[in-house]
């Protein structure tokens, strides 16, 4: 049994996804994806608390004819070895990303596994925002339900409404990605005459949004998000590499500066006015060893300390080399390839422009990545030079120290005096590696280099000829910015293409307190309707089912559950909106409910007990086909709270409506069910999570009891 029930605080809400072994938690406003107990990703897409999630996976049958003709391929795995991971020092993750230590393999696995089938994660929050993320990691759209105009056809005339103070309580995206049904509580106001206060204002509303853009451009979105999410991951790798190199190098340089900064003060103490460079120079050319330098080399520095510094610079250099050649360069190379692929896609305007892949923006990013490659090349060359000069300098100083101490020098490798001069002139008081890793540095470009770059423009080179004046870090920041800009285009473009199709007010909520709280017990799901045989074959129909508990007192009903279906069917030929009302016996209380596979409803009931001792609870599975759906009006004002016109059916637990399973604990919300796994997860009031296999009849299949701490 997988360990997907984690130790968790109450701030987390669990969510069982359809993805095997993947658990998504939401922690205030960010999503955390866990797999086998390891954190995969944490995504912040909302500003306020997330309330509900829905993960819709594309079904292979829902292909259109045209899709079958287009064949896209992610060529990266064919052309490159596995992508680099975030560099680590001694087993510790160095980057400030939230990617854990041991899950780099799994994130790779996750991203490649997620590429097999297209899927979209929808998340709704308290303030009425819905976010769409492909594979759960690449955000492609966000809409605020408060700003979506709702056009309804009210008996011939058109009217526009808007929701105010809406709070999402459930979202569900259909399996073919065509439509989204969402339940939200909020006030409905008429845009045309705001002053006109409506009696239907506050309540739970059901909305149908048209998301056919996801369906129509499924393949294209798949490609774009697959490339983009990998790029985003690799950008993190680059960032972590750069920050780690900066850390390593500054460590070594601090030691070096600390020891060698003694020399200038020694020189002044000896009453001289020369610089340390001069002193070393005169030592190099054999004129004299000033007392200050002598004292510095022999006593204040010493052979052991010199060797220690040399070793630390050497090991820092080694780290730098490893990071450059195993993390930075490969990451930048793969980013550039993936961007080249994206650019190729962007050139296909007729298919990619309307999902917001902008040719110009992608072109700009491609330019930037080219410049970054040049910068990385420059960095590695500077690093190689500097490290070599350091090595040469240290062996020369060591030799000098040995000579001053009259020790044999045959063990010390010979040094190149020209490079010692170079070191003294350019490296003793400067640090080009640090400068390149610093975002605020600007360099002066050699005149010839500038001319060369300008020549290359004619040959199709970088139009920004001043990019060599930037540091590596600055170039990276610019790349990131333009990436962000380019990837926000699909986000805004797609968001603008999601429209509201229909509205159905379900029940009123009178008090404002209830309106803002999110205690509405609701569930929405889509089922394949295979009974109508004329639609057999690839084009089957998806029917939405919405079930909700009507709060006591609303619509003058108590302890009632409403179920409606076919809300989002806009065509006239197919069955239209219908529903039924179910009254739960008074001795039970409905804790939560959820739709389960094959149009079943799982209701979690608990005994109302007068005393304090916790009563038993029941998981009741109801077959909706056993109830008769009564047609309801769809036309706007007459559909307002039309559920109240239905006569409530009495639910008898002992009858043949469905299966009843008893739980020997008092339970609390939420109830989570997973149709694909056939399990239900409930939380007992003793803070245990219990997992039930729903399809089996035995009572002893309570699989796992895990403490919540």
């Amino acid at each position: 049994m997988p360990s997907w029930v984690q130790p968790m605080t109450q701030k987390f809400k669990p969510f069982l996804t359809l993805r095997i072994c993947l658990l998504v938690l939401f922690y205030f406003n960010s999503l955390c994806m866990l797999q086998n107990g390891k954190m995969l990703r944490r995504i912040k897409s909302h500003d306020v608390a997330i309330v509900c999630l829905n993960w819709a996976e594309d079904e292979p049958q829902s292909k259109t004819d045209k899709d079958g003709l287009l064949s896209y391929e992610d060529r990266t795995t064919r052309f490159f070895p596995p992508a680099p991971v975030v560099p680590r020092i001694g087993g510790l993750s160095s980057g400030d990303t939230c990617l854990g230590d041991e899950n780099e393999e799994s994130i790779q696995e996750f991203s490649s596994a997620s590429c097999q089938r297209f899927n979209i994660l929808c998340s709704g929050d308290k303030d009425g925002c819905i976010c769409f993320s492909i594979f759960g990691i690449f955000p492609v759209g966000k809409i605020n339900i408060n700003e979506v105009p709702i056009h309804v056809q009210s008996s011939g005339s058109k009217a526009s409404y808007r929701l105010q103070d809406a709070s999402i309580s459930k979202v569900s995206l259909s399996g073919n990605l065509h439509k989204l049904v969402l339940l939200c509580s909020g006030k409905l106001i008429d845009i045309d005459n705001i002053s006109h206060s409506n009696d239907i204002s506050g309540g739970l509303h059901c909305l149908h949004l048209d998301t056919s853009i996801f369906f129509n451009r499924k393949n294209e979105l798949h490609q774009v998000s697959q490339q983009a999410s990998s790029i985003q991951y690799l950008v993190e790798v680059v960032r972590a590499s750069i920050s780690m190199m900066a850390k390593q190098w500054s460590g070594a340089m601090n030691l070096f500066n600390e020891k060698f900064s003694v020399l200038p003060s020694l020189i002044t103490a000896h009453g001289m006015e020369s610089s340390s460079e001069d002193e070393f120079m005169s030592l190099l050319f054999g004129t004299r060893t000033s007392p200050a330098l002598h004292q510095f080399l022999v006593s204040s520095l010493g052979e052991a300390a010199l060797k220690r510094i040399a070793k630390s610079v050497d090991s820092a250099g080694r780290e730098l080399r490893v990071v450059v050649s195993e993390h930075l360069q490969p990451a930048v190379e793969i980013i550039s390839f993936r961007l080249a692929e994206l650019r190729g896609l962007a050139r296909w305007r007729s298919r990619f422009q309307n999902i917001g892949l902008d040719e110009k923006l992608i072109d700009g990013v491609t330019e930037r990545i080219g410049m970054l490659v040049v910068q990385v090349e420059r960095f590695s060359r500077v690093t190689a030079t500097v490290l070599y000069l350091f090595q040469n300098f240290f062996s020369w100083v060591l030799k000098c120290v040995k000579i001053l101490l009259s020790e044999p020098t045959d063990q010390v490798p010979a040094a190149n005096s020209e490079f010692v001069v170079l070191f003294l002139k350019f490296l003793l008081d400067k640090d080009p590696i640090k400068q390149l890793l610093d975002a605020d540095q600007r360099f002066e470009c050699h005149l010839d280099t500038a001319k060369h770059l300008e020549q290359l423009v004619v040959l199709g080179g970088f139009t920004d000829t001043h990019f060599l004046e930037r540091s590596l870090m600055k170039q990276f920041n610019e790349l990131e910015e333009s990436l962000k800009e380019a990837f926000s285009m699909p986000f805004t473009t797609i968001s603008s293409q999601i429209h509201c199709q229909a509205l159905l007010p379900l029940y009123p909520i009178t008090s404002l307190v209830d309106l803002s709280s999110t205690c509405n017990l609701t569930s929405v799901s889509f089922y394949k309707q295979d009974e109508d045989s004329q639609h057999s074959g690839p084009s089957y129909r998806l029917t939405d089912y919405i079930c909700f508990k009507i709060p006591d007192g609303s619509l003058n009903l108590r302890n009632c559950i409403g179920v409606i279906k076919d809300f989002s069917n806009s065509s006239t030929s197919t069955p239209s909106l219908s529903g039924f009302l179910l009254r739960i016996p008074d001795e039970y209380e409905c804790v939560d409910l959820s739709l389960y596979k094959d149009s079943q409803i799982v209701v979690l009931l608990s005994e109302r007990s007068c005393s304090d001792n916790p009563g038993r609870s029941y998981i009741v599975m109801l077959q909706t086909e056993n109830f008769s759906f009564v047609p309801l009006s769809k036309i706007f004002p007459s559909n307002i709270y039309s559920i109240q016109e239905l006569a409530a059916l009495e639910l008898q637990l002992d009858t043949d409506y469905g299966k009843v399973r008893s739980v020997p604990h008092a339970v609390s919300t939420p109830l989570a069910v997973s149709a694909s796994r056939g399990v239900a997860c409930v939380f007992s009031s003793r803070r245990h999570a219990l997992v039930y296999i729903l399809d089996e009849d035995e009572d002893e299949d309570e699989d796992e009891v895990s403490d919540m701490e």
Binding site: G68, L69, S71, Y72, R75, R78, F79, F80, P81, E277, D278, G286, T287, R321, S325, Q329, E333, S336, A340, E341, G344, T366, G370, V373, V374, E377, R378, R381, V382, T385, V386, L387, Y388, Q391, A414, A415, N416, S417, E418, L422, K425, F426, D429, K430, P432, Q435, Q441, R442, F443, E444, H446, D448, T449, H452, L456, V458, L459, G460, G461, F462
Partner: protein, 749 residues
């Protein structure tokens, strides 16, 4: 840098040494005697490697149709003509004696120039200087080596051979070649004969005598094995594999003394094919170089391996059992891995400490140049810190500061980028081709030899031609010609001919196309050495011209004979191209059924060599062929065309894109179920885009076709004005095609 300037600076050095208050002699006396040997053989080492890399750099790029023998036109640049004067003026002056150290620095510099751009060094005057130098300093044997290099780069076989012999005869016992191994002192004693043989082999290889080269190498292998000279052996193996990869040989049997002499360790009784031998040699050389820490050779071997993997399917030499599954595809990930490993030569420079060179004066010239520039800030104001941040090490500019990284290392590191660009040309990613060539041109312009740099320029200009049209390409070409003025620079010359030929074909100027084809034929004639790739290209272009002239049977004949040549020399990648051309020929001669097998064969070749873009265009041709078979196949053709679209629209040039758009529209139009009135956009959109691209290319034939289709569509839609407009454009292009105007100006640009 003119030599005059160098001499001037040399003179300055002496003055500087004399005038500076601290006696600023670069350890002249004490270092002098001890360093001679070291520097000598270090240098020889560099030269030998340079020679290898030079060969290599010319060999690897498939587009580099270097007719090595063909560049006999030495355009003597005058930049170094005042060279004799300079050095003798200096030597006449008794105050200004050159130290040996300076002389060596001068020789080093000359070697660098020779390597970077041989056309900058005039053959005869340089030889004269060298002989004078030799008369003055007979113990400087490297002068002979330099003369050898000079003769080599100027294609003077006799002189090169002569000088090489002299160098190794006169420097008897003094110098080895390889200094990297820890036991370098022994090498000095024993490393002579095999090094000479190695150089001889390289010489033969350069002049295109593979058999003689192999003989020399085989002998060198024997001698170095006898002398336990491991480093030399590693270099020889690298050189042999370079030779094998470069020349088109169908078999080595009979050329190498015994067929088993190289491949006997595998324990197979059968002689190996040339590719297998090459792979075995490369791997062995790599292993040896790795254990001996010959980082440059390691990098070189990785590059060769990458090049090998690019064009060859690696099959296990022995597969055990019936279930041994072999996937017959090239492995691009291996190419990538090898390229990454080869650029470690730069990042890992100096990491082992073995490559630490001691004073050898190799920088004294470049050093002095900067000294005069920096002397103000350095001598007078060494105490005050600089206000402006100058980046002292990263100018990508050879003259910026003397760098401890030798140019050979930089060249190797840069070659990885150039090879990457070539690899992406094959695999089909246009932005990656551009980016990698651009990175090369930006970062390695200082160290690269002119032929390598011009190759990068060629790739950039080809990219421009494919994506921006001819006018942009030709203006860039003009700049490139200014930058590489020597007519001997065959890369640029070839590029010019390629561009002119393509433009002539597009414009329908068949006479001009034929004329350029003939020029290609002259270049590839066996009079000036055989370059198999150039030959292939010449016949390919010949067949294309014939195809454009609608002489189908002749075109097919040329293509067929080309195919058999490519097959003979195992040039699979070219095979795919030729097959596609054959399919095109049959398609245009209304013989679609005959064309189908060729297109399919080309497609499967492309699949196994991961030639994605070529595969897409083969698929497109396949679609056209099906379409030609009748409207009942329109659906199949449409699905094929759609398959190729993502690749073609993403990475194809304008011509290919336009073709794909037209095919797409044609597929729709010939589908009997398709109604134009229902969905005019799905036809008009591609046609409009095609017209846009074709106008830039001036491709009259296809533009006429696109306009014709457009007029048809508008006619069906009942939009008469638009129809007339399209018809008028159609007429314009047909007229332009039939009466190619201004034949004269189309050889200029």
């Amino acid at each position: 840098m003119a030599f005059e300037g160098v001499c001037h600076l040399l003179a300055n050095l002496v003055e500087y040494c004399n005038s500076s208050e601290t006696s600023y002699d670069f350890a002249e006396d004490e270092a002098f005697n001890s360093e001679i040997e070291m520097s000598n053989f270090m240098d020889a080492n560099i030269h030998v490697r340079d020679a290898i890399f030079d060969k290599y750099s010319k060999g690897y790029a498939p587009e580099s149709h270097m007719g090595e023998g063909s560049s006999s036109l030495v355009h003597a640049s005058t930049s170094l003509h005042d060279f004799d004067e300079g050095i003798f003026k200096a030597e006449d002056n008794p105050d200004c004696l050159r130290s040996r150290w300076q002389l060596e620095a001068y020789l080093n510099q000359q070697a660098d120039i020779l390597e970077k751009d041989p056309s900058l060094v005039p053959l005869n005057s340089f030889n004269a200087t060298m002989s004078q130098l030799q008369a003055l300093a007979p113990e400087l044997h490297r002068v002979q080596f330099l003369q050898y290099l000079n003769a080599l780069t100027h294609d003077d076989y006799i002189a090169a051979l002569d000088n090489l012999h002299r160098y190794f005869d006169y420097s008897a016992g003094m110098q080895g070649i390889f200094s990297r191994s820890s036991s370098s002192f022994q090498d000095i004693i024993v490393g002579k004969y095999e090094s000479a043989l190695l150089c001889l082999g390289n010489l033969h290889c350069y002049f295109g005598h593979p058999k003689k080269a192999l003989e020399a190498f085989t002998e060198a292998v024997r001698v170095s094995q006898m002398n336990n000279d491991d480093s030399c052996l590693a270099y020889i193996l690298g050189a042999i594999s370079n030779l094998l990869s470069k020349i088109g040989m169908s078999s080595t049997i009979g050329t190498i003394g015994s067929p088993y002499s190289l491949g006997n360790n595998i324990g197979l009784g059968t002689p190996l094919s040339i590719q297998q031998q090459l792979l075995v040699l490369l791997k062995r050389s790599l292993k040896r170089a790795d254990t001996l820490k010959l980082t440059s050779l390691v990098s070189f071997d990785h590059l060769s391996l990458a090049k090998f993997d690019l064009k060859h399917v690696q099959r296990p030499l022995v597969s055990f059992g019936p279930n041994a599954y072999t996937k017959l595809r090239t492995c691009p990930a291996d190419v990538c891995k090898n390229l990454r490993l080869s650029s470690h030569v730069l990042t890992d420079f100096g990491v082992d400490g073995l490559s630490a060179s001691s004073d050898n004066g190799s920088f004294s010239t470049s050093w002095l140049r900067n000294l005069s520039a920096a002397s103000n800030s350095w001598c007078s104001s060494s105490t005050k810190s600089r206000k402006v941040l100058t980046n002292d090490f990263d100018n990508f500019h050879f003259h910026a500061q003397p760098s401890p990284i030798p140019a050979a290392v930089l060249q190797l590191a840069g070659s990885a980028y150039l090879l990457r660009a070539t690899a992406w040309e094959h695999y089909g990613s246009a932005p990656m081709v551009r980016m990698n060539s651009l990175v090369y041109a930006t970062c390695f312009a200082d160290a690269a030899s002119s032929s390598e740099l011009s190759l990068a320029y060629v790739k950039l200009i080809q990219h421009l031609a494919a994506f921006k049209g001819y006018s942009a390409a030709f203006s860039a070409l003009k700049l490139a010609e200014e930058k590489f003025p020597s007519t001997a620079n065959s890369h640029i010359q070839l590029l010019k001919m390629q561009l002119l030929h393509e433009r002539a074909l597009h414009r329908g100027q068949l006479k001009i196309a034929q004329q350029i084809c003939d020029e290609f034929g002259v270049l590839s004639s066996s009079v000036s050495g055989v370059d198999i790739e150039l030959k292939t290209e010449a016949s390919l272009r010949h067949a294309r011209t014939l195809l454009a002239a609608k002489q189908f049977s002749q075109a097919a004949n040329v293509a067929n004979s080309l195919f058999s040549t490519c097959y003979k020399y195992n040039m699979q990648v070219e095979n795919a191209n030729v097959l596609l051309l054959l399919a095109e020929i049959h398609k245009n001669s209304d013989n679609a059924v005959l064309g189908l097998p060729y297109a399919l064969a080309s497609q499967s070749f492309c699949k196994s060599f991961n030639l994605d873009l070529l595969e897409a265009s083969a698929t497109l041709t396949l679609a056209e062929l099906w379409l030609a078979l009748g409207s009942t196949h329109a659906k199949r053709a449409l699905s094929l065309a759609c398959q190729s679209l993502p690749m073609i629209l993403g990475h194809g040039g304008m011509e290919l894109r336009a073709r794909a758009h037209i095919v797409l529209a044609k597929c729709h139009l010939s589908d009997p179920k398709f109604k134009v009135t229902e969905d005019p956009c799905s036809v008009l959109d591609p046609l409009n885009q095609a017209v846009e691209d074709l106008q830039v290319l001036e491709y009259h034939e296809m533009a006429a076709e696109a306009y014709y289709l457009k007029a048809l569509v508008y006619n069906n839609l009942g939009k008469l004005d638009e129809r007339e407009e399209a018809a008028a454009s159609f007429r314009e292009h047909t007229i332009a095609l039939e009466n190619p105007y201004n034949e004269a100006d189309s050889l200029s640009y």
